[in-house]
Protein backbone atom coordinates (compact mmCIF):
# COMPACT_ATOMS: atom_id res chain seq x y z
CA UNK A 1 0.00 0.00 0.00
CA UNK A 2 1.31 3.41 -1.02
CA UNK A 3 0.56 5.09 2.33
CA UNK A 4 2.55 2.45 4.27
CA UNK A 5 5.44 2.68 1.81
CA UNK A 6 5.55 6.48 2.12
CA UNK A 7 5.47 6.21 5.93
CA UNK A 8 8.37 3.74 5.85
CA UNK A 9 10.31 6.07 3.56
CA UNK A 10 9.76 8.95 6.00
CA UNK A 11 10.70 6.83 9.04
CA UNK A 12 14.02 5.96 7.41
CA UNK A 13 14.83 9.55 6.40
CA UNK A 14 17.44 11.51 8.33
CA UNK A 15 15.25 14.64 8.32
CA UNK A 16 12.53 12.75 10.21
CA UNK A 17 15.03 11.38 12.75
CA UNK A 18 16.34 14.90 13.36
CA UNK A 19 12.74 16.15 13.55
CA UNK A 20 11.95 13.60 16.27
CA UNK A 21 15.15 14.47 18.13
CA UNK A 22 14.23 18.17 18.07
CA UNK A 23 10.68 17.56 19.36
CA UNK A 24 11.95 15.29 22.13
CA UNK A 25 14.71 17.78 22.99
CA UNK A 26 12.19 20.61 23.22
CA UNK A 27 9.95 18.43 25.37
CA UNK A 28 12.63 17.46 27.86
CA UNK A 29 14.51 20.77 28.07
CA UNK A 30 11.54 23.14 28.13
CA UNK A 31 8.40 21.33 29.26
CA UNK A 32 9.65 18.50 31.46
CA UNK A 33 10.95 20.80 34.25
CA UNK A 34 7.34 22.03 34.63
CA UNK A 35 6.44 18.52 35.78
CA UNK A 36 9.07 18.51 38.52
CA UNK A 37 6.74 19.73 41.20
CA UNK A 38 3.10 18.94 41.91
CA UNK A 39 0.94 22.05 41.95
CA UNK A 40 -0.94 22.32 45.24
CA UNK A 41 -2.84 25.13 46.92
CA UNK A 42 0.36 26.04 48.78
CA UNK A 43 2.99 25.56 46.01
CA UNK A 44 0.96 27.67 43.55
CA UNK A 45 2.10 30.76 45.52
CA UNK A 46 5.64 30.24 44.14
CA UNK A 47 4.43 30.85 40.55
CA UNK A 48 4.27 34.62 41.24
CA UNK A 49 1.01 35.05 39.35
CA UNK A 50 0.11 38.55 38.34
CA UNK A 51 -3.10 40.14 37.17
CA UNK A 52 -3.85 43.04 34.92
CA UNK A 53 -6.15 45.39 36.81
CA UNK A 54 -6.89 47.52 33.73
CA UNK A 55 -8.03 50.40 35.94
CA UNK A 56 -7.58 53.83 34.33
CA UNK A 57 -6.57 55.29 37.72
CA UNK A 58 -3.55 52.94 37.74
CA UNK A 59 -2.74 53.07 34.02
CA UNK A 60 -2.82 56.83 33.40
CA UNK A 61 -0.30 58.07 36.03
CA UNK A 62 2.16 55.23 35.32
CA UNK A 63 1.98 55.68 31.54
CA UNK A 64 2.38 59.45 31.89
CA UNK A 65 5.46 59.07 34.15
CA UNK A 66 6.99 56.64 31.65
CA UNK A 67 6.18 58.83 28.65
CA UNK A 68 7.63 61.94 30.30
CA UNK A 69 10.84 60.06 31.14
CA UNK A 70 11.15 58.88 27.54
CA UNK A 71 10.47 62.41 26.27
CA UNK A 72 13.24 63.87 28.45
CA UNK A 73 15.81 61.34 27.19
CA UNK A 74 14.25 61.27 23.67
CA UNK A 75 14.54 57.48 23.77
CA UNK A 76 11.35 55.48 23.28
CA UNK A 77 11.19 51.71 23.53
CA UNK A 78 9.42 50.12 20.59
CA UNK A 79 9.09 46.52 19.46
CA UNK A 80 7.79 46.87 15.90
CA UNK A 81 9.04 43.42 14.85
CA UNK A 82 9.56 41.91 18.27
CA UNK A 83 13.13 43.12 18.57
CA UNK A 84 13.77 46.21 20.58
CA UNK A 85 14.05 49.37 18.54
CA UNK A 86 15.12 52.45 20.48
CA UNK A 87 13.36 55.29 18.69
CA UNK A 88 14.90 58.78 18.80
CA UNK A 89 12.51 61.39 17.40
CA UNK A 90 13.39 64.53 15.48
CA UNK A 91 12.71 67.80 17.30
CA UNK A 92 9.37 68.39 15.51
CA UNK A 93 7.94 65.00 16.51
CA UNK A 94 9.40 65.23 20.01
CA UNK A 95 7.69 68.60 20.40
CA UNK A 96 4.39 66.94 19.44
CA UNK A 97 4.96 64.45 22.28
CA UNK A 98 5.65 67.37 24.59
CA UNK A 99 2.35 68.93 23.50
CA UNK A 100 0.52 65.74 24.41
CA UNK A 101 2.24 65.55 27.81
CA UNK A 102 1.24 69.15 28.49
CA UNK A 103 -2.34 68.34 27.46
CA UNK A 104 -2.51 65.39 29.84
CA UNK A 105 -0.64 66.92 32.75
CA UNK A 106 -1.53 70.61 32.49
CA UNK A 107 2.12 71.57 33.13
CA UNK A 108 3.67 74.53 31.33
CA UNK A 109 7.16 74.74 29.74
CA UNK A 110 8.87 76.04 32.89
CA UNK A 111 7.31 73.34 35.05
CA UNK A 112 8.45 70.73 32.55
CA UNK A 113 12.03 72.01 32.77
CA UNK A 114 11.87 71.96 36.58
CA UNK A 115 10.54 68.42 36.49
CA UNK A 116 13.42 67.36 34.21
CA UNK A 117 15.99 68.98 36.51
CA UNK A 118 14.46 67.22 39.52
CA UNK A 119 14.48 63.78 37.82
CA UNK A 120 17.36 61.35 38.12
CA UNK A 121 19.06 59.95 35.04
CA UNK A 122 19.78 56.24 34.83
CA UNK A 123 20.09 53.21 32.58
CA UNK A 124 17.03 50.96 32.50
CA UNK A 125 17.57 47.29 31.83
CA UNK A 126 15.07 45.77 29.37
CA UNK A 127 15.78 42.07 28.84
CA UNK A 128 19.35 42.02 27.65
CA UNK A 129 19.42 45.71 26.81
CA UNK A 130 20.12 48.87 28.74
CA UNK A 131 18.47 52.13 27.73
CA UNK A 132 19.05 55.69 28.89
CA UNK A 133 16.10 56.97 30.86
CA UNK A 134 14.96 59.69 33.19
CA UNK A 135 13.21 58.39 36.30
CA UNK A 136 10.18 60.62 36.51
CA UNK A 137 7.61 60.13 39.25
CA UNK A 138 4.28 61.63 40.06
CA UNK A 139 3.73 63.80 37.00
CA UNK A 140 0.41 65.52 37.77
CA UNK A 141 -2.62 64.39 35.83
CA UNK A 142 -5.23 66.94 34.77
CA UNK A 143 -8.46 66.21 36.59
CA UNK A 144 -10.69 66.70 33.55
CA UNK A 145 -8.80 64.29 31.27
CA UNK A 146 -10.95 61.28 30.43
CA UNK A 147 -9.58 57.79 29.87
CA UNK A 148 -11.07 57.81 26.35
CA UNK A 149 -9.09 60.94 25.40
CA UNK A 150 -6.02 59.51 27.14
CA UNK A 151 -6.19 56.35 24.97
CA UNK A 152 -6.70 58.48 21.88
CA UNK A 153 -3.55 60.49 22.67
CA UNK A 154 -1.60 57.32 23.35
CA UNK A 155 -2.72 55.95 19.98
CA UNK A 156 -1.45 59.09 18.26
CA UNK A 157 1.85 58.86 20.15
CA UNK A 158 2.18 55.21 19.09
CA UNK A 159 1.66 56.28 15.48
CA UNK A 160 4.38 58.95 15.77
CA UNK A 161 6.73 56.29 17.19
CA UNK A 162 6.02 53.98 14.26
CA UNK A 163 3.93 51.39 16.17
CA UNK A 164 4.84 48.66 18.61
CA UNK A 165 5.59 51.13 21.42
CA UNK A 166 4.77 50.82 25.13
CA UNK A 167 1.91 53.26 24.48
CA UNK A 168 -0.11 51.19 22.02
CA UNK A 169 -3.65 51.58 23.42
CA UNK A 170 -4.32 47.82 23.49
CA UNK A 171 -1.15 47.19 25.50
CA UNK A 172 -1.57 49.99 28.04
CA UNK A 173 -3.36 47.79 30.56
CA UNK A 174 -0.67 45.08 30.42
CA UNK A 175 2.27 47.49 30.53
CA UNK A 176 1.01 49.81 33.23
CA UNK A 177 -1.49 47.98 35.43
CA UNK A 178 0.18 44.67 36.24
CA UNK A 179 0.06 43.76 39.91
CA UNK A 180 0.53 40.60 41.99
CA UNK A 181 -2.59 38.50 42.56
CA UNK A 182 -4.10 38.40 46.02
CA UNK A 183 -4.22 35.11 47.93
CA UNK A 184 -7.91 34.67 47.10
CA UNK A 185 -7.23 35.19 43.39
CA UNK A 186 -4.39 32.67 43.46
CA UNK A 187 -6.68 30.12 45.08
CA UNK A 188 -9.22 30.83 42.34
CA UNK A 189 -6.53 30.04 39.76
CA UNK A 190 -5.83 26.78 41.59
CA UNK A 191 -9.53 25.90 41.60
CA UNK A 192 -9.69 26.51 37.83
CA UNK A 193 -6.63 24.29 37.40
CA UNK A 194 -8.20 21.42 39.36
CA UNK A 195 -11.91 21.75 38.62
CA UNK A 196 -12.17 23.27 35.14
CA UNK A 197 -8.94 22.16 33.46
CA UNK A 198 -8.95 18.84 35.34
CA UNK A 199 -5.15 19.27 35.53
CA UNK A 200 -4.33 17.54 32.23
CA UNK A 201 -5.80 20.26 29.97
CA UNK A 202 -3.58 22.87 31.67
CA UNK A 203 -0.49 20.73 31.05
CA UNK A 204 -1.75 20.07 27.51
CA UNK A 205 -1.85 23.83 26.84
CA UNK A 206 1.65 24.33 28.19
CA UNK A 207 2.97 21.36 26.18
CA UNK A 208 1.37 22.81 23.04
CA UNK A 209 2.88 26.21 23.77
CA UNK A 210 6.43 24.81 23.85
CA UNK A 211 6.11 22.33 21.00
CA UNK A 212 4.21 24.88 18.88
CA UNK A 213 7.38 26.97 18.63
CA UNK A 214 9.33 24.29 16.80
CA UNK A 215 6.36 22.75 14.98
CA UNK A 216 5.85 26.08 13.22
CA UNK A 217 9.00 25.48 11.22
CA UNK A 218 10.65 22.06 11.42
CA UNK A 219 8.05 20.00 9.49
CA UNK A 220 9.13 21.94 6.38
CA UNK A 221 12.47 20.07 6.31
CA UNK A 222 10.85 16.63 6.24
CA UNK A 223 8.30 17.80 3.65
CA UNK A 224 10.94 19.39 1.39
CA UNK A 225 13.15 16.30 1.69
CA UNK A 226 10.30 13.96 0.74
CA UNK A 227 9.20 16.08 -2.22
CA UNK A 228 12.72 16.29 -3.62
CA UNK A 229 13.54 12.63 -2.87
CA UNK A 230 12.16 11.48 -6.25
CA UNK A 231 14.34 13.94 -8.09
CA UNK A 232 17.43 13.03 -6.06
CA UNK A 233 16.90 9.34 -6.80
CA UNK A 234 16.15 10.22 -10.45
CA UNK A 235 12.77 8.55 -10.04
CA UNK A 236 10.63 11.60 -10.76
CA UNK A 237 9.99 10.84 -14.42
CA UNK A 238 9.32 7.19 -13.64
CA UNK A 239 6.75 8.22 -11.02
CA UNK A 240 5.22 10.75 -13.45
CA UNK A 241 4.49 7.94 -15.92
CA UNK A 242 2.59 5.78 -13.39
CA UNK A 243 -1.20 5.40 -13.50
CA UNK A 244 -1.80 6.75 -10.00
CA UNK A 245 -3.58 10.11 -9.98
CA UNK A 246 -1.68 13.19 -8.82
CA UNK A 247 -4.43 13.86 -6.28
CA UNK A 248 -4.03 10.44 -4.68
CA UNK A 249 -0.23 10.55 -4.72
CA UNK A 250 0.11 14.02 -3.22
CA UNK A 251 -2.61 13.52 -0.60
CA UNK A 252 -1.13 10.16 0.38
CA UNK A 253 2.30 11.75 0.83
CA UNK A 254 0.79 14.65 2.75
CA UNK A 255 -1.17 12.31 5.03
CA UNK A 256 1.91 10.16 5.58
CA UNK A 257 3.99 13.21 6.50
CA UNK A 258 1.36 14.59 8.88
CA UNK A 259 0.76 11.24 10.55
CA UNK A 260 4.43 10.41 11.04
CA UNK A 261 5.24 13.89 12.30
CA UNK A 262 2.32 13.76 14.74
CA UNK A 263 3.74 10.60 16.32
CA UNK A 264 6.51 12.25 18.38
CA UNK A 265 3.90 14.75 19.63
CA UNK A 266 1.65 11.87 20.60
CA UNK A 267 4.58 10.28 22.40
CA UNK A 268 5.23 13.50 24.34
CA UNK A 269 1.53 13.76 25.23
CA UNK A 270 1.54 10.12 26.41
CA UNK A 271 4.60 10.70 28.62
CA UNK A 272 2.91 13.82 30.02
CA UNK A 273 -0.31 11.91 30.69
CA UNK A 274 1.57 9.11 32.47
CA UNK A 275 3.50 11.58 34.60
CA UNK A 276 0.32 13.50 35.50
CA UNK A 277 -1.44 10.27 36.52
CA UNK A 278 1.51 9.44 38.74
CA UNK A 279 1.84 12.95 40.22
CA UNK A 280 -1.85 13.69 40.80
CA UNK A 281 -3.12 10.28 41.89
CA UNK A 282 -5.60 11.62 44.43
CA UNK A 283 -6.98 14.45 42.28
CA UNK A 284 -8.44 12.24 39.53
CA UNK A 285 -7.03 14.13 36.54
CA UNK A 286 -8.91 13.87 33.23
CA UNK A 287 -6.10 12.51 31.06
CA UNK A 288 -7.98 13.18 27.80
CA UNK A 289 -6.98 16.86 28.06
CA UNK A 290 -3.31 15.97 27.62
CA UNK A 291 -4.17 14.57 24.16
CA UNK A 292 -7.08 16.67 22.89
CA UNK A 293 -5.54 20.11 23.55
CA UNK A 294 -2.22 19.35 21.76
CA UNK A 295 -4.22 17.63 18.99
CA UNK A 296 -6.38 20.69 18.25
CA UNK A 297 -3.49 23.10 18.84
CA UNK A 298 -0.59 21.47 17.04
CA UNK A 299 -2.08 19.46 14.18
CA UNK A 300 -2.91 22.59 12.10
CA UNK A 301 0.70 23.76 12.61
CA UNK A 302 2.09 20.48 11.28
CA UNK A 303 -0.44 20.41 8.44
CA UNK A 304 0.16 23.96 7.22
CA UNK A 305 3.95 23.88 7.43
CA UNK A 306 4.01 20.51 5.67
CA UNK A 307 1.58 21.64 2.95
CA UNK A 308 3.47 24.90 2.32
CA UNK A 309 6.76 23.00 2.30
CA UNK A 310 5.43 20.60 -0.34
CA UNK A 311 3.82 23.35 -2.41
CA UNK A 312 6.82 25.71 -2.48
CA UNK A 313 9.22 22.81 -3.11
CA UNK A 314 7.17 21.79 -6.15
CA UNK A 315 6.75 25.36 -7.37
CA UNK A 316 10.31 26.57 -6.79
CA UNK A 317 12.77 24.43 -4.84
CA UNK A 318 13.37 22.91 -1.41
CA UNK A 319 15.73 25.78 -0.53
CA UNK A 320 13.03 28.33 -1.27
CA UNK A 321 10.53 26.38 0.87
CA UNK A 322 12.96 26.42 3.81
CA UNK A 323 13.74 30.11 3.33
CA UNK A 324 10.06 31.13 3.19
CA UNK A 325 9.05 29.00 6.15
CA UNK A 326 11.98 30.09 8.29
CA UNK A 327 11.29 33.76 7.50
CA UNK A 328 7.60 33.27 8.38
CA UNK A 329 8.55 31.53 11.63
CA UNK A 330 11.01 34.29 12.53
CA UNK A 331 8.41 37.01 11.93
CA UNK A 332 5.77 35.07 13.94
CA UNK A 333 8.19 34.68 16.84
CA UNK A 334 9.21 38.32 16.76
CA UNK A 335 5.61 39.51 16.58
CA UNK A 336 4.59 37.48 19.64
CA UNK A 337 3.62 40.07 22.19
CA UNK A 338 3.68 39.91 25.96
CA UNK A 339 2.09 38.57 28.05
CA UNK A 340 2.56 35.07 26.71
CA UNK A 341 -1.02 34.14 27.56
CA UNK A 342 -4.48 35.31 26.53
CA UNK A 343 -3.19 36.89 23.31
CA UNK A 344 -4.39 34.39 20.73
CA UNK A 345 -5.90 36.26 17.81
CA UNK A 346 -7.88 35.03 14.81
CA UNK A 347 -4.78 34.73 12.63
CA UNK A 348 -2.06 34.00 15.19
CA UNK A 349 -0.12 31.09 13.72
CA UNK A 350 2.25 30.41 16.64
CA UNK A 351 -0.22 30.40 19.55
CA UNK A 352 1.32 31.02 22.95
CA UNK A 353 0.00 30.29 26.44
CA UNK A 354 3.11 29.91 28.53
CA UNK A 355 1.48 29.08 31.84
CA UNK A 356 -0.41 26.32 33.58
CA UNK A 357 -2.84 28.97 34.79
CA UNK A 358 -4.79 31.96 33.42
CA UNK A 359 -7.51 29.63 32.08
CA UNK A 360 -10.08 32.43 32.00
CA UNK A 361 -7.80 34.57 29.78
CA UNK A 362 -7.42 31.61 27.40
CA UNK A 363 -11.15 30.91 27.35
CA UNK A 364 -11.87 34.58 26.63
CA UNK A 365 -10.23 34.08 23.21
CA UNK A 366 -11.35 30.48 22.75
CA UNK A 367 -13.65 31.18 19.80
CA UNK A 368 -10.80 33.06 18.07
CA UNK A 369 -8.52 30.13 18.85
CA UNK A 370 -10.94 27.65 17.27
CA UNK A 371 -11.47 29.88 14.23
CA UNK A 372 -7.72 30.22 13.93
CA UNK A 373 -7.09 26.46 14.00
CA UNK A 374 -9.88 25.75 11.49
CA UNK A 375 -8.62 28.54 9.22
CA UNK A 376 -5.06 27.14 9.16
CA UNK A 377 -6.34 23.59 8.58
CA UNK A 378 -8.33 24.86 5.59
CA UNK A 379 -5.30 26.83 4.37
CA UNK A 380 -3.21 23.65 4.59
CA UNK A 381 -5.72 21.69 2.51
CA UNK A 382 -5.82 24.51 -0.05
CA UNK A 383 -2.00 24.44 -0.27
CA UNK A 384 -2.10 20.66 -0.84
CA UNK A 385 -4.66 21.13 -3.62
CA UNK A 386 -2.37 23.70 -5.23
CA UNK A 387 0.48 21.19 -4.96
CA UNK A 388 -1.69 18.63 -6.76
CA UNK A 389 -2.31 21.09 -9.61
CA UNK A 390 1.40 21.95 -9.91
CA UNK A 391 2.36 18.27 -9.82
CA UNK A 392 -0.21 17.42 -12.46
CA UNK A 393 1.12 20.17 -14.74
CA UNK A 394 4.69 18.92 -14.26
CA UNK A 395 3.64 15.37 -15.07
CA UNK A 396 2.09 16.55 -18.31
CA UNK A 397 5.29 18.35 -19.24
CA UNK A 398 3.45 21.67 -19.28
CA UNK A 399 5.34 23.14 -16.36
CA UNK A 400 8.74 22.66 -14.78
CA UNK A 401 8.63 24.86 -11.75
CA UNK A 402 8.61 28.64 -11.62
CA UNK A 403 11.81 30.21 -12.89
CA UNK A 404 12.17 33.89 -12.17
CA UNK A 405 13.79 36.07 -14.84
CA UNK A 406 14.03 33.40 -17.57
CA UNK A 407 15.57 29.96 -17.91
CA UNK A 408 19.18 31.19 -17.96
CA UNK A 409 18.83 33.37 -14.88
CA UNK A 410 20.49 32.60 -11.57
CA UNK A 411 17.04 31.57 -10.32
CA UNK A 412 16.86 28.55 -12.63
CA UNK A 413 16.22 25.21 -10.98
CA UNK A 414 19.31 23.32 -9.93
CA UNK A 415 19.72 19.60 -10.27
Amino acid sequence: MLFTRECKKIFRSLTFIIYCAMVILMFFTQFWPELDERVTSSTIESYELTKISGEPETIMPKALDSLTGCYFSNTYRCYPYGLLKAVHLNSRDNDKIKGYIIEISGLNDDEMEKLKAASSFSHVRIGTNELESYNVNHVPLREDITYGRFREIMGEIDDILGGGSDYRPDDLAYKFSQEPMSHAEIIEQYDDFIEKDHIAAAYGRLLSDYLGIVLAVIPVFAAAALVTADKRAKMDELVYSRRISSFRLIFTRFSALVLTMALPVLLCASITAAKIMHMYKGDAPDIAGAFTVPGIWLLPNIMLVTALGMCISELFSAGMAILVQFAAWFICMMMTSSPLYGHIGRYTFVCRHNSLFYRSEFMEHYSDFLFNRIFYTAAALAAVLLTVIVYELKRGGRFNGLVLFGKDSIFRRKA
Binding site: L83, A86, A225, A415
Partner: protein
Protein backbone atom coordinates in the same frame (compact mmCIF):
# COMPACT_ATOMS: atom_id res chain seq x y z
CA UNK B 1 48.56 24.45 -11.05
CA UNK B 2 45.65 22.85 -9.21
CA UNK B 3 44.84 26.17 -7.62
CA UNK B 4 44.69 27.78 -11.04
CA UNK B 5 42.21 25.18 -12.24
CA UNK B 6 40.28 25.52 -9.02
CA UNK B 7 40.09 29.29 -9.42
CA UNK B 8 38.60 28.84 -12.91
CA UNK B 9 36.15 26.25 -11.65
CA UNK B 10 35.17 28.42 -8.72
CA UNK B 11 34.74 31.46 -10.98
CA UNK B 12 32.39 29.36 -13.05
CA UNK B 13 30.32 27.90 -10.21
CA UNK B 14 30.20 31.20 -8.36
CA UNK B 15 28.50 32.58 -11.44
CA UNK B 16 26.23 29.62 -11.98
CA UNK B 17 25.63 28.11 -8.55
CA UNK B 18 26.33 30.47 -5.68
CA UNK B 19 25.50 33.97 -6.88
CA UNK B 20 21.98 33.60 -5.51
CA UNK B 21 23.34 32.69 -2.08
CA UNK B 22 25.70 35.65 -2.10
CA UNK B 23 22.84 37.95 -3.05
CA UNK B 24 20.64 36.48 -0.31
CA UNK B 25 23.39 36.93 2.31
CA UNK B 26 23.89 40.53 1.15
CA UNK B 27 20.11 41.07 1.27
CA UNK B 28 20.06 39.90 4.91
CA UNK B 29 22.70 42.53 5.72
CA UNK B 30 21.10 45.36 3.78
CA UNK B 31 17.53 44.68 4.94
CA UNK B 32 18.45 44.56 8.64
CA UNK B 33 18.65 48.37 9.18
CA UNK B 34 15.16 48.73 7.65
CA UNK B 35 13.58 46.64 10.38
CA UNK B 36 15.85 46.97 13.38
CA UNK B 37 17.43 49.90 15.09
CA UNK B 38 21.17 50.12 14.33
CA UNK B 39 21.91 53.71 15.35
CA UNK B 40 22.89 55.13 18.71
CA UNK B 41 23.04 51.70 20.35
CA UNK B 42 25.30 50.75 23.20
CA UNK B 43 27.51 47.67 23.12
CA UNK B 44 24.81 45.16 24.15
CA UNK B 45 22.03 46.60 22.06
CA UNK B 46 24.32 46.63 19.03
CA UNK B 47 24.92 42.91 19.50
CA UNK B 48 21.22 42.13 19.01
CA UNK B 49 20.89 42.69 15.23
CA UNK B 50 24.44 41.40 14.70
CA UNK B 51 23.91 38.08 16.48
CA UNK B 52 20.25 37.49 15.69
CA UNK B 53 20.21 38.50 12.03
CA UNK B 54 23.68 38.97 10.55
CA UNK B 55 24.88 35.62 11.91
CA UNK B 56 22.36 33.91 9.60
CA UNK B 57 24.64 34.81 6.67
CA UNK B 58 26.76 31.85 7.83
CA UNK B 59 23.89 29.44 7.19
CA UNK B 60 23.21 30.98 3.79
CA UNK B 61 26.85 30.97 2.66
CA UNK B 62 28.58 27.92 4.12
CA UNK B 63 25.84 25.28 4.08
CA UNK B 64 25.49 24.88 0.28
CA UNK B 65 29.22 24.38 -0.53
CA UNK B 66 28.58 20.78 -1.64
CA UNK B 67 25.24 21.53 -3.29
CA UNK B 68 26.27 21.51 -6.99
CA UNK B 69 27.56 17.94 -6.67
CA UNK B 70 24.51 16.69 -4.79
CA UNK B 71 23.46 15.28 -8.12
CA UNK B 72 25.37 12.00 -8.41
CA UNK B 73 25.95 12.35 -12.16
CA UNK B 74 27.58 15.75 -11.79
CA UNK B 75 29.64 14.46 -8.86
CA UNK B 76 30.92 11.55 -10.95
CA UNK B 77 31.95 13.87 -13.78
CA UNK B 78 33.65 16.30 -11.40
CA UNK B 79 35.52 13.48 -9.63
CA UNK B 80 36.85 12.14 -12.92
CA UNK B 81 38.68 15.44 -13.50
CA UNK B 82 42.31 16.05 -12.69
CA UNK B 83 41.67 18.79 -10.13
CA UNK B 84 40.82 17.26 -6.75
CA UNK B 85 37.16 17.78 -5.92
CA UNK B 86 37.82 18.61 -2.29
CA UNK B 87 40.34 21.28 -3.26
CA UNK B 88 37.57 23.00 -5.21
CA UNK B 89 35.38 22.77 -2.11
CA UNK B 90 38.15 24.29 0.03
CA UNK B 91 38.46 27.22 -2.37
CA UNK B 92 34.68 27.68 -2.33
CA UNK B 93 34.74 27.61 1.44
CA UNK B 94 37.52 30.21 1.59
CA UNK B 95 35.56 32.52 -0.71
CA UNK B 96 32.43 32.06 1.42
CA UNK B 97 34.36 32.84 4.59
CA UNK B 98 35.79 35.99 2.99
CA UNK B 99 32.32 37.14 1.94
CA UNK B 100 31.00 36.31 5.40
CA UNK B 101 33.75 38.38 7.03
CA UNK B 102 33.15 41.23 4.55
CA UNK B 103 29.41 41.27 5.29
CA UNK B 104 29.99 41.19 9.05
CA UNK B 105 32.53 43.98 8.60
CA UNK B 106 30.13 46.09 6.52
CA UNK B 107 27.41 45.66 9.17
CA UNK B 108 29.71 46.66 12.01
CA UNK B 109 31.17 49.63 10.11
CA UNK B 110 27.69 50.83 9.18
CA UNK B 111 26.62 50.63 12.82
CA UNK B 112 29.78 52.49 13.83
CA UNK B 113 28.88 55.20 11.31
CA UNK B 114 25.42 55.35 12.92
CA UNK B 115 27.06 56.12 16.29
CA UNK B 116 26.56 52.68 17.81
CA UNK B 117 29.14 51.44 20.29
CA UNK B 118 30.71 48.67 18.23
CA UNK B 119 34.30 47.49 18.36
CA UNK B 120 36.46 44.91 16.63
CA UNK B 121 35.11 42.40 19.16
CA UNK B 122 31.62 42.86 17.71
CA UNK B 123 32.96 42.10 14.27
CA UNK B 124 34.85 39.03 15.51
CA UNK B 125 31.87 37.87 17.58
CA UNK B 126 29.43 38.21 14.69
CA UNK B 127 31.78 36.40 12.34
CA UNK B 128 32.27 33.63 14.93
CA UNK B 129 28.52 33.13 15.40
CA UNK B 130 27.96 33.11 11.63
CA UNK B 131 30.87 30.68 11.18
CA UNK B 132 29.45 28.40 13.85
CA UNK B 133 25.98 28.27 12.27
CA UNK B 134 27.44 27.87 8.80
CA UNK B 135 29.99 25.24 9.69
CA UNK B 136 27.36 23.08 11.37
CA UNK B 137 25.29 23.26 8.19
CA UNK B 138 28.42 22.53 6.13
CA UNK B 139 29.24 19.54 8.34
CA UNK B 140 25.72 18.09 8.20
CA UNK B 141 25.39 18.67 4.44
CA UNK B 142 28.82 17.13 3.80
CA UNK B 143 28.15 14.02 5.84
CA UNK B 144 24.63 13.43 4.57
CA UNK B 145 25.21 14.62 0.99
CA UNK B 146 21.93 16.49 1.37
CA UNK B 147 21.89 20.26 1.67
CA UNK B 148 18.41 20.16 3.27
CA UNK B 149 19.93 18.31 6.25
CA UNK B 150 22.60 21.01 6.39
CA UNK B 151 20.06 23.83 6.54
CA UNK B 152 18.04 21.85 9.07
CA UNK B 153 21.00 21.33 11.44
CA UNK B 154 22.08 24.95 11.19
CA UNK B 155 18.63 26.48 11.67
CA UNK B 156 17.74 24.09 14.47
CA UNK B 157 20.81 25.20 16.39
CA UNK B 158 19.68 28.78 15.83
CA UNK B 159 16.18 27.94 17.16
CA UNK B 160 17.63 26.12 20.17
CA UNK B 161 19.52 29.31 21.02
CA UNK B 162 16.15 31.05 21.34
CA UNK B 163 14.60 28.44 23.60
CA UNK B 164 17.38 26.81 25.63
CA UNK B 165 19.86 29.65 25.96
CA UNK B 166 20.92 28.81 29.52
CA UNK B 167 21.70 25.19 28.65
CA UNK B 168 24.14 25.78 25.78
CA UNK B 169 27.10 27.02 27.82
CA UNK B 170 30.01 28.08 25.62
CA UNK B 171 28.05 27.19 22.49
CA UNK B 172 25.49 29.95 22.99
CA UNK B 173 25.63 32.08 19.83
CA UNK B 174 23.86 35.15 21.27
CA UNK B 175 26.34 35.71 24.12
CA UNK B 176 27.34 39.25 23.06
CA UNK B 177 23.78 40.32 23.86
CA UNK B 178 24.58 39.36 27.46
CA UNK B 179 27.85 41.28 27.30
CA UNK B 180 30.05 38.18 27.11
CA UNK B 181 32.61 37.58 24.37
CA UNK B 182 34.28 34.49 25.90
CA UNK B 183 31.99 32.06 24.09
CA UNK B 184 33.14 33.32 20.71
CA UNK B 185 36.54 31.65 20.79
CA UNK B 186 34.85 28.33 21.51
CA UNK B 187 32.46 28.87 18.64
CA UNK B 188 35.34 29.64 16.32
CA UNK B 189 37.22 26.54 17.50
CA UNK B 190 34.10 24.45 17.01
CA UNK B 191 33.66 25.87 13.50
CA UNK B 192 37.16 24.92 12.40
CA UNK B 193 36.85 21.52 14.06
CA UNK B 194 33.60 20.83 12.16
CA UNK B 195 35.11 21.96 8.85
CA UNK B 196 38.19 19.83 9.45
CA UNK B 197 36.09 16.82 10.45
CA UNK B 198 34.01 17.15 7.30
CA UNK B 199 37.08 17.13 5.07
CA UNK B 200 38.64 14.25 7.01
CA UNK B 201 35.44 12.24 6.64
CA UNK B 202 35.09 13.02 2.95
CA UNK B 203 38.77 12.35 2.25
CA UNK B 204 39.34 9.18 4.22
CA UNK B 205 35.91 7.60 4.57
CA UNK B 206 33.60 8.64 1.77
CA UNK B 207 35.96 9.12 -1.15
CA UNK B 208 38.96 7.16 0.26
CA UNK B 209 41.69 9.29 -1.26
Amino acid sequence: MDWCYSARIVYSDVRHNFLLHYLLAAAVVFITPLFFSVSGLDSRQAAQPLEMIISLTGTVLLTPVFMPEQNGSIRDVIRSKKTPYLLTCIVRLCIDMLILAALAGISVLYMKKCRSEVTFLHFAGTAASAMALGSLGFFAAGLSNNVIIGYMASLLWYIINFTAKDKLGVFFIFSMMNGSFDEKKWLLALSFALILLTFVYLSYVKYKI
